[in-house]
């Protein structure tokens, strides 16, 4: 990122007044966002929950089993190999 400066008599547009800035103040939204963010931060990872861990393990095992079955079905038998012509 390159930073460029502009120097002029007035600089920036006039700053908003305190009353104008107060319109942007939203303590309720801040507290809501804080509660949501801290909930996400302190959420227990899925693998640390015994039930979720078992479910994940089951899914992984099932996926592995399916992959194995599909691999065996796709593997051609030795009789079907074609010998290259001499």
């Amino acid at each position: 990122m390159k930073q460029r400066y502009r120097i002029s008599p007035e600089g920036r547009p006039p700053e908003p007044t305190d009353a104008e800035i107060a319109r942007y103040r939203d303590p309720e939204r801040l507290l809501y966002n804080y509660q949501r963010a801290s909930h996400l931060m302190h959420r227990k990872p899925l693998y640390k929950d015994p039930k979720a861990f078992m479910a994940l393990l089951l899914i992984v095992l099932l996926a592995w089993f399916i992959a194995e079955v599909v691999d065996k079905e796709e593997l051609p038998s030795p009789a079907t190999f074609e010998r290259p012509a001499p």
Binding site: M1, K2, R4, R6, I7, G11, E15, Y24, P27, L30
Partner: protein, 178 residues
Amino acid sequence: MQEQDDTTLVMAAKADPSRFAPLYELYFNPVFRFILRRAGQPELTADLTQQTFLKAMLGLSRYEPRGLPFRAWLYRIALNELRMHWRKRKEVVMDMSYAEVRGMCEEMGITKDDDELHQLASALGRLPEDKARLIELRYMDGMSFAELGQVLGIGEDAAKMRTHRVLANLRTYLSPRA
């Protein structure tokens, strides 16, 4: 006095996050103005200010008031939020008024004619980010060396010395005067 009040408010907010509101009320305007001077747009500034306070609330347990006023800590977070916001931008334009550069011009011994100010603006653009930050805090935000040091995490004397070095650096960027 203000620091003592801040410490009391921070302690209360640490114990119960819903009591962060007085700190938010107290520092919303200064932080908003601090960000607005850099971001330029009020809507964007409002988002970045809200994000700054959210980060402050989330990190409040790690904040230790000793030697670092709460305001300076908030400014540090705000600068970080601005940096995060700008990191994908190719170029950022910062506007400064004659009044803001007056002190700098006096210390550097340059006049405020258009040509020299144009050269000064381009010289500022050539400064590395940390040095430019120092100049902005000192002249754009009008911070004392003590405040500047608190925001940058250095001592007052170091802040003074670094500022003078940056000004000397800027002088070398300016073309020699006739």
